[in-house]
Amino acid sequence: MSVILLVEQTLNGLQFGVMLFLMAAGLTLVFGVMGLINLTHGSLYMVGAFAAAAVAARTGSFLLALVASIAGAAAVGTIIEMAVIRRLYSRDHLDQVLATFALILILSEGTRWLFGSYPLFLDTPPWLSGTLMLPFGIEYSIYRLSMIGAGLCAAAGLFWMIARTRIGIQIRAGENDREMIGALGVNISRLNTLVFAIGAGLAGLAGALIGAIQSVQVGMGEPVLILAFVVIVIGGIGSIRGAFVGAILVGLTDTLGRFALPHLFALFMDASSATSIGSSLASMSIYLLMAGVLLLRPRGLFGAT
């Protein structure tokens, strides 16, 4: 019985990690290529979820909603990149943090102004709801399995794009030497906008996929944003591979920690204080993980040294 539970929790951790990767990929790409700390990324996640909810309410189609989430977040991303963000690439991290902090305020309240103060409705489509019987009697949500699948596909697509396509070559070159690729005739400003829009689109997709099983509301982006930062710091900022490993690590640590720590404490104290203390420790677990990784490797697992 408990082995089944453990397998199910591992799947949950994996699903959480894959979604975190969609968020973290954009953050780490934008940092790698443009050197920008982008706190607005959480707002783009929120924009994706709201766009999906709005389209799903009009059309009733979940697939159209997903398309809308990518398009909506990428569009908003493009607009803010061209209007504001591109002025920040040459600034220091401090200015970047503050300016994108200001953008969060604007995007959050703007969304509330457009959509109201109550959460919106977005649900999983009927053809993905229900559960699937996996081998060994494990019953698991089809939607969550699909999220793992969709996330892995997006990750594979991203790796392929970076390794094999022309844009990917430019991105990798941009990470190494920005002046040089400009000298080689690549339109850097267009490349920047494109990278930012790709990151935004991925965040929007994550927002819609997660929004369907959570609450689509203003402020949904910030907790995820902080988690995504933890992920890229653990993985090494700028490294897509690091973001993937970091995301899975964080997903598993968080999910398994929440499950296992209260049980662990219950071995040597009474049930209700074990629940309380175990849960407290679990909520700190990923930050402990991050501090531990940074102490051993100050530039993350896959960071350039």
Partner: protein
């Protein structure tokens, strides 16, 4: 809603009722501190709208209401309370939604000799040892709805409950309240992280626990997330909870996942009494949406205030307090009176989530606890 925040002088135009009611004992200045921006704004807006509706219907132009936004931040709420007492010179304060903000504001307000009428939060400290003659709770003590849920789960014949709530004081009170009235055994007890949005790990444990019922207290977006994921997981055990996660405002966001869930509440829009029918109709007519639990509480708070103002002058503290204690008004929830600690003694109903046309809403199916008071009253000495 483009209502200006600083409605410094929201003096309500009226004259008809003034002449009719006769025994007027002077007006009052009321300070409302509530959450109007950010994530929890929906609740504050409902309390405000319900409150202002009652003031408007009373036709009294001598009740002035100052409304300010606390942004759900305790320090801002404390500061606004200082401002209202020091600068606006209000007589009565009200409006706070969250227990932690109430704990920050209420003790200092009552210590300064002002009255506070709570339209929502009812932390146990203010009902027991920290009770005050000038503090009145018009909603519920925090434990009440959870106790109702425990009583209902027992009467419905459930034997093994799995219970969960966020790991913070109101969450711990919720589980304690449920356990106080649930006679079966527990299949599991879990605390989740405050603000948590993914409940896969918890749902897996529910599935493995062998429970026959699930009780949860997860306010706001947390409840929406939990219900959607729970419905999707196919666990399918019956769910019981307090009304907060099944309120009119958020029910539409939960959707079909909530259908059939039993929840406990001191109010429902189909509660059969004249005051409630009139309230539901007029709220719909004025604001174009169905009233929520919070709107009804805001409405009742204003009714209580008006009833007391009709009997006594607010400057006469002892007389005004007596008038409040009498609770001589037609509450939207039917019978209503105060216990010795100024907290409600009222029925807790069981509601079921149904679909009316396109709209998800609640229907009363029974009474969980009759004339229910809270357990902290004994600790209150005033």
């Amino acid at each position: 809603m483009t209502m200006k925040l600083k409605m410094k002088t929201l003096a309500v135009a009226a004259s008809l009722a003034m002449a009719a009611s006769g025994a007027l004992a002077g007006g009052a200045k009321v300070g409302m501190i509530t959450t109007l921006s950010g994530g929890g704004a929906g609740l504050g807006i409902d309390v405000r709208d319900g409150f202002m509706l009652a003031i408007e219907q009373s036709g009294r132009s001598d009740i002035e209401v100052v409304i300010e936004d606390d942004q759900r931040k305790p320090d801002v709420a404390v500061q606004l309370a200082d401002k209202m007492i020091q600068s606006d010179k209000v007589d009565v304060l009200t409006g706070i939604i969250w227990s932690n903000l109430a704990m920050a504001v209420v003790p200092s307000v009552t210590a300064q000799g002002k009255f506070y009428l709570s339209p929502n939060a009812g932390p146990s400290a203010l009902a027991g040892k920290g009770c005050s003659p000038n503090y009145f709770n018009v909603a519920w003590q925090n434990d009440n709805l959870h106790e109702g849920a425990g009583a209902y789960a027992t009467s419905a014949g459930y034997k093994k409950a799995f219970i969960l709530a966020p790991n913070y004081p109101a969450g711990q009170d919720a589980l304690t309240g449920f356990k106080r009235f649930f006679k079966g055994e527990l299949a599991g007890e879990l605390y989740t992280k405050l603000g948590q949005t993914d409940y896969a790990a918890e749902i897996a444990q529910i599935r493995a626990s062998g429970a026959d019922v699930v009780f949860f207290f997860l306010p706001g977006g947390m409840g929406i997330s939990f219900l959607k994921q729970y419905a999707d997981s196919g666990v399918g055990l019956p769910v019981v909870g307090p009304a907060f996660s099944f309120d009119q405002g958020i029910l539409q966001a939960v959707g079909a996942a909530a259908l059939g869930v039993k929840n406990t509440s001191q109010w429902s829009k189909d509660l059969d009494n004249e005051a409630n029918k009139a309230f539901v109709e007029s709220f719909k007519a004025k604001y174009g949406r169905l009233p929520s639990l919070y709107a009804s509480q805001g409405f009742d708070t204003a009714l209580l205030l008006i009833s007391a103002l009709n009997k006594a002058d607010v400057a006469d503290h002892d007389g005004f307090r007596k008038a409040l204690e009498a609770a001589d008004f037609a509450s939207t929830r039917g019978a209503f009176k105060f216990g010795p600690n100024h907290h409600p003694i009222q029925n807790i109903y069981v509601r079921e989530v149904i679909k009316e046309g396109d709209v998800f809403t609640n229907k009363i199916i029974g009474t969980a606890l009759e004339n229910h008071a809270d357990v902290y009253a004994a600790e209150c000495k005033m």
